[in-house]
Structure formats: C-alpha cells, structure tokens
Symmetry: C2
Subunit: 230 residues, 2 copies
DNA sequence: GCAAAAGTGTTTATGTTACACCCATGT
DNA sequence: ACATGGGTGTAACATAAACACTTTTGC
C-alpha cells in the first residue's frame, strides 16, 4: 500500500456528544459536566465520549450519557456530525451530536467517572464551553425547534400522564415566546391521539385533568394522512 | 494504556457518500456509479469515498463527487451518519451522508478512477445497490422533501435565470405530485427575492419571462421575519 | 375571601384551495 | 390553423389569531 492508499483509509476516533435540553419553569436548561481531565480540565462541556466496540453512535451517546450523568432511558436524536480538523486540541476527533429532551428535576443526575460535577445551566447563562460545544448547542437548539413543530417530540419530555398546562409551559419555554392558551388547547384536543384520562392532578390549586399520548393511535392517524403541526 | 483505554480511542475509517438528485421531466433521478473494485464489484453504489488529510466531511463529499463523477460546484447538505458495525463487509466503516440537487443533463458526468460507469437512474427503477445505500437514499429523499418546503433549496437546482414553469416542474417531480399552477406562481410572486428579469426564454412556444433568486434580498427578508414556505 | 391555575367560544383576519380561459409563439 | 406552454383573478373554504371571563381548589 502506498502512503496515499493508507491515507485513504485514514481512521479517526469518533465521539458522540449529547445536548440535553431540560425545559423548566421559565427557562430552557442544558445539562453540562465539568471535565476532570485535560484538555479543558475544569471547564464545562457536553456529556459524551468515544465510540467503543461494535456500538452504533446512538448506543455510544446513550452509554456515555448514562456513565457521565446517570441518565438512562432518554430520547436521543442525531442532528449533525462535526468534522473540522482543528475542533479538538488532542488531534483529529470527529463528533456526532445528538439532542435529548427531558424534564430536569424528575431525573436523578450524578457525576460519573470522567466528570467532576454535573449540573443544569440556563441557556442564556452558559459558562465558557470546551471545544466547539457552544456551536453544537446552537445547532442542536435550531434542530430541536424545527422538529418540535412537526413531530410529537414534546411527549418525550412529559410524564405518561400530563396536564395541558404542563405541556404548554414546556412548549413556551423551548420556543422562548408566549403561546395563546385557548388556541393551543384547541389544537391539542383536536388530535385524536391526545386522550383525556380519568385522573386529575391534585396539589396546587384547581385540579387539572390529565391526558396521555397514545403512540399507536398517533401512528394510525399519520397513516391516514394526519400531519402533525403545533 | 489498558486495552479499555485503547478501545475508547478506537479509530474508524470514515466515508462521505452523496445522494445526488436530478429531477428531470416526469421523474426524479439519482446518480450512481458502478463499482470497479470489491466489495460489491460491478454493483451500483452512491458516489463517495474516504476522508483524507485535514478535510472536513463536507470537503470529502465534494472531492469524491468530483473524482468519481466529474461534478463540481454542487450544493451539498449533510443529513445523517450511518454507524452500524455490519454496514460494510470490509469491516467497521462509518459513513456520513449528504444529498445534492442539480439539473442532470446540464452537467457533464464522467466515470472517474474508482468507477466503471456513471449514470442517472430513475428513483422508481433503481438497480440492486451496494452496502446500505438503498436505506441512505430513502433517508436522503425524506430529508430533501422536508427541507425543500421550508428553505429555498430549489434555487440551487436552477440556472441563474429561470422560468416559473421550470421551477414548478422540478418541484412537482421531487414531491411526486401535481401542483396548482396559479397558486404556486402566486406564492412565488409574493416573495420579494424572486425578481423578474427583462430576459425571456425563447425556443419552444410562447416566450417565458425569466426570474432570478436574489440571495441577499432573501437574507434581508428572513431577517425581517419572513418564513419561507412552499 | 382571595390568590392561582383550570377551563371554555366566538369573531376576525389570514391563508389555502379550487377552478377556466385567453395569449403569444413555432410549426 | 393549430398545438404548446405562458400567463392571469375570484370565490369558497379552512385555518390561525385575538380576545376575557367563570370555575375550582388551597391557603
């Protein structure tokens, strides 16, 4: 094999990085870890790590997220592969990025082996970020917003039974703008896969009816030509 | 370094593969090459190849497309990275896929070094495809259709000056359904960045007015809140 | 009884769909 | 003259946006 032939099969270490969005109250938050090792030791970064064994990148992302933050059973969506040669000071490392969506304080988080700390940061108060992770976050948010409008992503964030108020708050906080309650509720109630349960949510003030998202009914609707749009 | 440590930096060869769409007359076509070498020697596949040197994957895609098919100056969009361990019989190879859009017979194509032949195939008459390339094509088409609706992609396919009839035909052939002429034209004429030139297209029958897409005006419109939607 | 979130309809404006004929040219 | 694609407007319909008050509970 000539040098050129070898070059053509140049092998590159790959990582999967996760932009975990946690909408909470008024602001969208992101889960970051503080790096324990160089490079960028002590700096904040996206959870993620190297591809291992026979895994797909999707599996890498899930595993690393679990190892570094304790999160499991999370919805992940691949959105871009970052390949600039100078994006990592250790040398050439290519990263495939995923975003996740969950309710922050209903999941336990715990710093894993490679992380000094883990915590939620508000989108508009982010610290200095390692590598090109700020850029990755920005692209992740753009993709999330676009996908949210045309696919029933939002139900991944919610508990199995949820109130329409909860749903609306999450939506508002991701899109970062207020939404008219009546119009929003109307739209949802016209979706045949949003089903009112007999349960109510007690606790704060007037109890709210709880709804559930019926995945199977959603599939049926889509097959019959339903186009999701919020 | 322990085996595990080495494992964590497992390096993988990367390829960039291109799904080149060429809408023409009634049908959407895809550019394929016939492979000159094993594996899948003599079978049809997407143009693409290995990442080299300091390139980004975007640069790899452009270069390989040029080397294998003769195409240059093409609009490319990254849409997914395929990472199943068994997707390539040579071993673990990960591929980042791009789609491109162009008018087929206004570009010269020519089989390069690694290709026996290059030719356009109709979407609904595809031959047996190497690797997971059929799957890649399907995902590429889904992404193309989605992007086409909300971004001014279609102007990448057209010559600098184009008639609304040309535009409509391409649109119909990608979406694979007829479109109402008057409604379609109305929408376009309301876009401030679709500008009528003084030129006309002679040749066939009644001459058609030619329009151009003003990229700068498009940016201005978007900044002022314009939301592209066709 | 008061604060706080749940719940509910109607009107207006806007955008989308459906639809058919004349025009300018080449052959 | 005729065949071909270019070019144009309106009415019906559907969807989206604006808007405010009553209800139920916990404190």
């Amino acid at each position: 094999l000539t040098t050129q032939e070898l070059n053509k099969r140049m092998a590159v270490p790959l990582t999967a990085d996760c932009v975990v969005f946690g909408p909470y109250e008024e602001s969208l938050q992101i889960l970051l870890i503080e790096r324990k090792k160089p490079p960028f030791k002590g700096k904040w970064a996206l959870p993620g790590g190297f591809l291992e064994g026979e895994e797909t990148l999707e599996e890498t992302a899930l595993r690393e997220l679990h190892e570094e933050t304790g999160l499991g059973e999370v919805f992940l969506k691949q959105f871009f592969t970052f390949s600039r040669a100078d994006r990592d000071p250790r040398g050439r490392i290519i990263s495939t990025a995923f975003y996740a969506l969950l309710t922050p304080y209903s999941h336990q988080i715990e710093a894993g082996e490679d992380a000094e700390k883990v915590r939620w940061w508000k989108m508009n108060e982010l610290p200095f970020l390692a590598f090109d992770h700020l850029h990755i976050i920005q692209m992740g948010l753009e993709n999330l917003k676009r996908d949210l409008k045309i696919s029933p992503l939002i139900f991944e964030v919610l508990p199995r039974h949820f109130s329409l108020g909860q749903l609306q708050k999450i939506y508002e906080c991701i899109l970062n703008r207020p939404v008219d309650k009546r119009n929003f509720w109307k739209k949802l109630q016209l979706m045949p896969f949003i089903i009112k349960t007999t349960e109510v949510q007690k606790g704060s003030r007037r109890p709210a009816s709880l709804y559930r998202f019926d995945r199977q009914m959603y599939q049926t609707s889509v097959n019959q030509g339903f186009i999701f749009d919020l």
